[in-house]
């Protein structure tokens, strides 16, 4: 066990992830609103800000999910460009961080870094970039270069991209802009360092177009969970949007990230951890359990359960009863097809089907029960009474296993209401949740130091923990 307290302050924070796709968002409920009207985004973001959330997340769409060669039609779908929506939200919020998921494969550093810098300036230093990679040709069909990148090269390009972006963000010298209206020029001559890069990933020559923001540059989030992804995160990111939400799992993940962070020459608490999580809350445990049952029924309807299996069987399973056992027939594909926008790439379909059949049989699960259990986000979710969940979260805060949770509401736009109205005050009563924003920038509110490139001195010795804090 490390002797330091990874999170430092014994608190937890919240972010909210407005999904816009996937079956986790219940659309059949009467109070389920639009996925595209700006008012839905405004309502969620402003509710989150009322609840003193640290961040509002948007995902990125590059191609609509397909199912057996046709557009997948069972889940919510259709979402705006993340940064355009966040720029609009910047005008109607004041403190909450604005996180855009953007991939490094089908973007150019010159443009993406500029757009992120733009969002950062517009929001007064509240922008963040959730760095993701893509590699398949199916997604590439919407872009100029098509499917150009090999799977094994995706992090190579991502790392070169992030380095280029950081150089662009740092390309304007302090004091580049005239201090007064009577100065000789608006832009002091020689105050922009051009960014030139010529390597296997990029051959570019870029002149940065904007100065630094109030938080220096956007905060970097990363979600990759593979060993490569984790090492990428500790080298480049400020926050990991993790899949490890259950307490024991979260502790193990924290220990692993701390070890990797120290090895990368950064202070142990330099990388914050926010697992994705679903919250299903009610006044009593019994009501919460009933609510959970209802939410799961809505999330995984009979059609969704069958469609889920069809992805792996590679064929229609029309005749199968969603309340019956898993199909005994074998998949018609050898390998799950990577072009459908799901997360299971390149697994042996036959092997997977066999494992699943055994698992469902062993647990006595129907297709629907099996799929519902399997497709839950990061485990069971936080289900319980307001007080019970508040106690559990206080335990998370005490252990320092996570810095916060990135909440995926199962209902839009009202899905944060009970969290903000009922849970947040109970967390504040327990002393584990902020009662006001610490600052106006996202970097301040996450308790992050200035970017490593801006710290005084160097951080060469592994484990060195004395470095300047933002304040």
């Amino acid at each position: 066990m490390t002797t330091h307290r990874p999170t430092g302050n014994g608190r937890i924070q919240f972010g909210v992830f407005f999904q816009g796709v996937n079956h986790t968002t219940v659309w059949k409920a009467p109070d389920s609103g639009s996925q595209t009207d700006f008012e839905s985004f405004r309502r969620v973001a402003q509710t989150a800000e009322r609840g003193l959330f640290s961040a509002f997340f948007l995902g990125e769409g590059l191609r609509l999910r397909e199912h057996l060669g046709r557009i997948h039609d069972l889940d919510v779908v259709g979402r705006p460009d993340a940064q355009t929506a966040l720029a609009a939200l910047a005008a109607v919020t004041t403190n909450i961080g604005l996180v855009a998921t953007q991939n490094t494969t089908y973007n150019d550093p010159a443009d993406l870094a500029h757009r992120l810098a733009s969002l950062d300036l517009l929001s007064g230093g509240r922008a963040a970039w959730n760095i993701v990679t893509t590699d398949n040709a199916w997604t590439g069909a919407n872009f100029r270069r098509g499917g150009f990148l090999k799977h094994e090269d995706r992090y190579v390009r991502a790392e070169a991209f992030v380095q280029t972006a950081k150089a662009i963000w740092d390309s304007w010298a302090d004091g580049a802009i005239a201090g007064s209206r009577s100065d000789g020029r608006w832009l002091r001559q020689g105050s922009i360092t051009p960014v030139r890069r010529n390597d296997a990933s990029f051959d570019v020559d870029i002149t940065g177009r904007l100065p630094r923001s109030a938080q220096h540059h956007p905060v970097l989030f990363q979600a990759g969970d593979s060993p490569d992804g984790r090492d990428f995160a500790v080298r480049n990111a400020d926050v990991i949007f993790s899949r490890h939400a259950e307490l024991e799992d979260a502790k193990v993940f924290r220990a692993d990230i701390v070890a990797r962070t120290l090895k990368a020459g950064r202070p142990a608490d330099d990388v914050k951890i926010f697992p994705g999580q679903e919250f299903i809350l009610a006044a009593t445990e019994k009501e919460a359990a009933e609510k959970e049952h209802w939410v799961r029924e809505q999330q995984v309807g009979p059609e969704t359960a069958i469609a889920y299996l069809e992805q792996f069987w590679g064929r229609t399973l029309d005749g199968y009863d969603p309340d019956g056992p898993l199909p005994e027939i074998d998949p018609v594909v050898d390998v799950t097809n990577p072009t459908r926008g799901n997360a299971f790439h390149g697994k042996s379909a036959r092997e997977l089907a066999g494992q699943w059949r055994d698992e469902a049989r062993g647990k006595g699960q129907s297709i629907r029960q099996f799929v519902a259990a399997r497709s839950r986000l990061n485990g069971r979710g936080l289900v319980g009474s307001y007080d019970g969940v508040a106690d559990l979260l206080a335990e998370y805060a005490r252990t320092g296993a996570v810095d916060g949770f990135n909440i995926t509401p199962w209902l839009v736009p009202g899905g944060l209401d009970d969290i903000v109205n009922e849970l947040v005050p109970r967390l504040q009563d327990r002393g584990v949740y902020r009662t006001e924003y610490e600052g106006t920038t996202l970097r301040e509110n996450l308790g992050l130091r200035v970017p490593s490139s801006h710290r005084r001195g160097t951080l060469s010795a592994a484990g060195r923990q004395e470095s300047e804090n933002v304040a």
Binding site: R70, L74, A87, N142, W186, I206, T207
Partner: protein, 365 residues
């Protein structure tokens, strides 16, 4: 003053360009804020809300990916789509039209961003098409500069790809049919299948059809031979050349034409000519057709220009000085003369131009 009735389906339109501190390169010296106050949200809300309240039909946001280190003006810019998006939820009737490049951008991203702006603004978005083709832009994204003849064709391809993506969802594609478990009627989604000379886009879009169906596409007259635009921007070196430029643009069949006009007005006890001389001492203003004079004289000029074109895009020399004059002394006079009407709260930009909401190219007739 002419008192021609304004045809109901062809209203006169007054646009204003709101980039930086104004069209004059020395505008920042007369701005009401310190130079480093330009690049932030407060500046966007201040200027665009002022133009919204004043009753302009649209604001445009110039953009360029080239940092001109040789100018004494302002080379730094926040991304134009984001400036427009930031203004969207805090304005009510003004159209928001960012300038967006077609040559060195990803057409899929651009179409998505603009459709998203249409949602954020509740149907007030447009696209000012740019095909500037500077070598620095090509280098910034690691590409070869396009040949001069290829640029307008590439711009046309990018616009066509965007238009197809905007139509790739029919209006009623989201059905939320609980009885069958279907959120979407996938027969109402369509692959764009655009294949151009230099890029292809499969589609469909990741965002449903924009609220206006198609955004208002505004293009410089020079691109009209290739680009499918809704509105042309006609420019001339002098005011006297504007009517002919407008007619030439209209002759291409483009539905609407705006003429470009730089303006500097008498203000704050100074004549426009005195203000111009003061600004020009720092760096000369090399714009196009220019009006220098009193607000009343501008009203007369605009009345004449409305006979030749569907409207005008004004480039105020100094936003902080000329925009208030336009709001106080020019737009009210145009409205009083019955030459323009203020856009209604909640209107769409297409409606401000009198352009109908277009049918979807993929929908069964």
């Amino acid at each position: 003053m002419p008192s021609l009735p304004v045809p109901e389906n062809r209203p006169n339109v007054v646009a204003v360009e709101l980039d930086g501190d104004g069209a004059h390169p020395a505008a920042w010296r007369h701005a009401h804020h310190l130079p480093d106050g330009l690049l932030g949200g407060a500046r966007i809300s201040g200027t665009v809300q002022a133009a919204d309240i004043a009753g302009f039909h649209l604001a445009t946001f110039r953009d360029s990916r080239v940092v001109d280190a040789g100018t004494a003006g302002i080379p730094g810019r926040i991304d134009a789509v984001q400036r427009a998006a930031f203004a969207a939820p805090i304005t009510g009737s003004i159209g928001l039209v960012p300038e967006v490049d077609t040559l060195y951008t990803e057409p899929f991203h651009v179409a998505t961003q603009l459709a998203s702006l249409d949602y954020a603004s509740q149907g007030r978005a447009g696209w000012l098409v740019s095909a500037a083709n500077a070598p620095e832009e090509a280098r910034a994204v690691g590409r070869e500069q396009l040949a001069a003849a290829a640029a307008p064709l590439e711009a046309a391809d990018a616009v066509e790809a965007g238009r197809r993506l905007w139509d790739s969802w029919e209006d009623d594609a989201v059905i939320r049919d609980a009885s069958t478990g279907r959120y979407l009627d996938r027969d109402k989604l369509h692959y764009a299948d655009f294949e151009g000379e230099r890029f292809a886009v499969k589609g469909p879009a990741i965002i449903p059809r924009p609220l206006q169906g198609q955004l208002v596409v505004i293009a410089p007259a020079a691109l009209l031979s290739t680009v499918e635009a809704d509105v042309a921007l006609a420019s001339a070196a002098t005011v006297d050349g504007l009517a002919a430029a407008a007619s030439a643009a209209a002759a291409t069949g483009v539905p609407r034409t705006l003429v470009e006009l730089d303006v500097i007005l008498d203000a704050r006890g100074q004549t426009a000519a005195e203000r111009l001389a003061e600004l020009d001492r720092h760096e000369p203003w090399t714009g196009g057709a220019r009006y220098v004079g009193s607000p009343a004289g501008l009203v007369s000029l605009l009345a004449r220009l409305f006979d030749a074109a569907d409207g005008v895009r004004l480039h105020p020399a100094v936003v902080d000085v000329d925009l208030p004059e336009l709001a106080l002394n020019v737009l009210p006079a145009l409205r009083a003369a019955g030459l323009v009407s203020a856009p209604a709260a909640g209107t769409t930009l297409r409606r401000s131009f009198g352009l109908p909401r277009p049918a979807n190219r993929y929908a069964a007739a």
